[in-house]
């Protein structure tokens, strides 16, 4: 560091004060990590072209540069609006997003006829569309950072957001299948001719905000009143209400939207937020028992009654033995497993795989598609990056000073981790496969936007957590225009009789 430039603080560089250390914003570290991430994305694009086209075109760097500009913009917004936010979050997410865009372009190249490959425009196809979605999602995230100057202001809209979340969850179930069903899962709102959105991705953010707010209010009663059984404190029967309601809602999602992953995501989100709020292991136990009980019930009903449960039964059957019908029902999962196996330890190299053989490789199976080309060695790096993002989120939750922020950041970070678990567990046959998107990698605007919004909230909370308390008259994290500031700035009026 430039010790000569700050002579007054030079003794501090040896025995630096904890307060001074904590107060550093570390934005420069973020910038250099971001540059490294973009170098990786450009290298990935170059290697894809070298392998798939046998030559590196002169404009291979354009997607990486475009992404770099977009993320640089967000970096500047963070410098301006959230200067103390966590420095590791943005570069890690940027790398995942960049690799996703790079792989989707690689998929476009594989789909195109060999003669047309060299002429394939950079901004065409799924890759180009993903680039545009990234721009939209990052702008949305920057907008959220600008509007929400303090994460606590989010709690004012908790009930509105909760209601919005439930409505968003219910819309696909209510719509006729023609407008909501793709590949057997009713998770969509399809506008014919325009495209489709997945409201559940946004609903998880809205619902989590509501859960956090509700549990901050109710944590006392949920954590204090209890009975002790077998050394574990169990809650009273009447306090089980909320958890049972969420359980029933997620079972309804499982039945009417035919999607285990989303259902697991909502329920897991609630149970973990409940656990963070009350610090009671018993809630985790109750949650696990309820979920496995519900899933088993759906399986049994699916085999006997059929109807709405049949889809879940089918998926469980495929999961139990994918090789029973390898060219029929089990085709996708078998191909995914073979793809991962072909990749082996170090992969075939970017551009060296056969992603066209794998159905849905651009969305659900993107992790397997990437795995074929970078191998276990590269996939574990990607998983560690996800882990680091989740860790930073939990860290922000630990450090933030108010309970709502703790629950919000902890729950969001866990949700991201759980979603990665559900889809990666699904394609690697650890759990029954359900169509979740892989955050930041999969093609799709809804998922990208929702997850960037999630990152924006985490950035905001971590900024609040790491920011030193300074500034005149009040806490620095106070939202601009809050009531105390208004009182402070108001003129004194003299009332005459």
């Amino acid at each position: 560091m430039t010790a000569a430039a700050v002579p007054a603080a030079s003794p501090a560089s040896t025995g630096e004060q904890s307060g001074v250390r904590l107060a550093r914003s570390r934005r420069n570290a973020e910038l250099s990590l971001l540059l490294l991430a973009m170098v990786l994305v450009a290298a990935y694009a170059a290697m894809v072209e070298a392998k798939a086209l046998d030559t590196i075109t002169s404009d291979f760097w354009i997607p990486a540069a475009a992404l770099g500009l977009v993320f640089l913009g967000l970096h500047l917004v963070i410098r301006w609006l959230a200067p103390y936010a966590d420095p590791a979050l943005l570069p890690a997410v940027a790398l995942l997003n960049g690799i996703g865009v790079g792989f989707l372009r690689r998929y476009d190249l594989a789909k195109a006829a060999p003669a047309e490959r060299e002429d394939l425009a950079i901004f065409a196809g799924t890759g180009g569309r993903q680039l545009a979605w990234t721009l939209a999602a990052v702008v949305l995230a920057a907008g959220l950072l600008a509007v929400m100057r303090d994460h606590r202001s989010l709690s004012r809209y908790a009930y509105t957001l909760g209601l919005a979340g439930i409505v968003l969850v219910m819309i696909p179930a209510m719509l006729p299948s023609r407008f909501s069903e793709i590949n057997g899962a009713k998770l969509w709102i399809i506008v014919p001719g325009l495209g489709q959105i997945q409201p559940g991705e946004f609903a998880k953010l809205a619902l989590l905000t509501f859960f956090a707010y509700y549990l901050v209010r109710k944590r006392e009663v949920l954590s204090l009143a209890s009975r002790r059984v077998l050394g574990i404190d169990f809650p009273r029967g009447r306090d089980l209400g909320p958890v049972l309601v969420v359980w029933i809602v997620s079972l309804l999602v499982l039945i009417f939207e035919k999607d285990l992953g989303t259902s697991l995501l909502y329920f897991g989100m609630f149970v973990v937020t409940l656990y963070i709020a009350t610090e009671r292991v018993s809630w985790l136990l109750i949650g696990l028992i309820l979920f496995f009980g519900g899933a088993y019930l759906a399986y049994v009903l699916g085999s006997t009654v059929g109807g709405p449960f049949a889809n879940f039964y089918d998926r469980a059957q495929i999961w139990l033995d994918p090789f029973a019908e390898p060219y029929d029902r089990g085709y996708q999962l078998v191909q995914g497993l073979l793809t991962l196996g072909t990749g082996g330890l170090f992969g075939a190299g970017p551009g060296g795989g056969q992603p066209t053989l794998l159905p849905e490789v651009q969305t659900d199976f993107i992790f397997a598609g990437i795995g074929e080309e970078i191998g276990l060695f590269g996939l574990s790096a990607l998983l560690v990056i996800y882990l680091l993002i989740v860790e930073r989120g939990l860290r922000a939750a630990l450090a933030v000073r108010d309970s709502f922020g703790k629950l919000l950041a902890g729950g969001l970070a866990f949700t991201l981790g759980l979603q990665v678990f559900v889809i990666v567990g699904g394609i690697s046959k650890l759990i029954p496969l359900t169509g979740q998107t892989t955050p930041f990698l999969s093609a799709g605007g809804s998922s990208l936007m929702a997850n960037w919004l999630l990152i924006a909230v985490l950035l905001r909370v971590s900024d609040g957590a790491r920011r030193p308390v300074t500034g005149g008259g009040g806490p620095a994290a106070r939202p601009a225009g809050g009531p105390p500031e208004q009182l402070h700035g108001a003129q004194t009026e003299v009332i005459r009789p």
Binding site: R21, G375, L388, D402
Partner: protein, 161 residues
């Protein structure tokens, strides 16, 4: 493209990917150590902590044993640290408090800590259940010595050097 170049690039990419991961870990680690160091300072006997406080910055040495951190020692927010600046710290259940405590025995605007000439004063803001400095109920602005617990409901706070 020669096969050798592609193979080298392939492994180079994987190595670069892991270099990125470890660089991120490095950045995070520095962050963690910043926390750990402050943890050690807190855990050290008060004399040692104060002496590092004096040698740390000449400007702060004039004040003597100045408080630099507010630490929550008991209650739901236990372990939370606030780095103190020049601004007052408000404590209560209200969302816009500096330290938001969700405690049944705390009022919306319960108490505040105000710095005056390097000394922090605690002041009760007309709370229902009162604010206690160690065992004594706080009635007016009271100077807070280092390491003496301020009790609000089930929450305890301490000033640390």
């Amino acid at each position: 493209m020669p096969e050798l170049v592609i193979t080298v690039a392939r492994f180079g990419f994987l190595i670069l990917l892991w270099i990125f991961v470890f660089t991120v870990v490095g950045v995070i680690r520095r962050d963690l150590f910043a926390g750990a160091r402050s943890g050690r300072l807190v855990a050290a006997p008060r004399g040692i902590g104060a002496s590092t406080g004096q040698s740390g910055k000449p400007a702060k040495a004039k004040r003597g044993r100045a408080a630099h951190q507010l630490v929550v020692t008991a209650g739901q927010l236990a372990g939370t640290r606030i780095t103190l600046g020049e601004a007052q710290i408000t404590i209560g259940r209200a969302e816009d408090s500096t330290l938001v405590i969700t405690d049944d025995y705390a009022s919306a605007r319960h108490a505040r800590l105000v710095p005056r000439d390097g000394q922090w004063y605690v002041e009760d803001l007309g709370s229902t259940n009162g604010t206690y400095l160690d065992r004594a109920k706080v009635t007016g602005p009271t100077p807070v010595p280092l390491g003496v617990p301020i009790r609000i409901g089930r929450t305890s706070l301490e000033l640390r050097p």
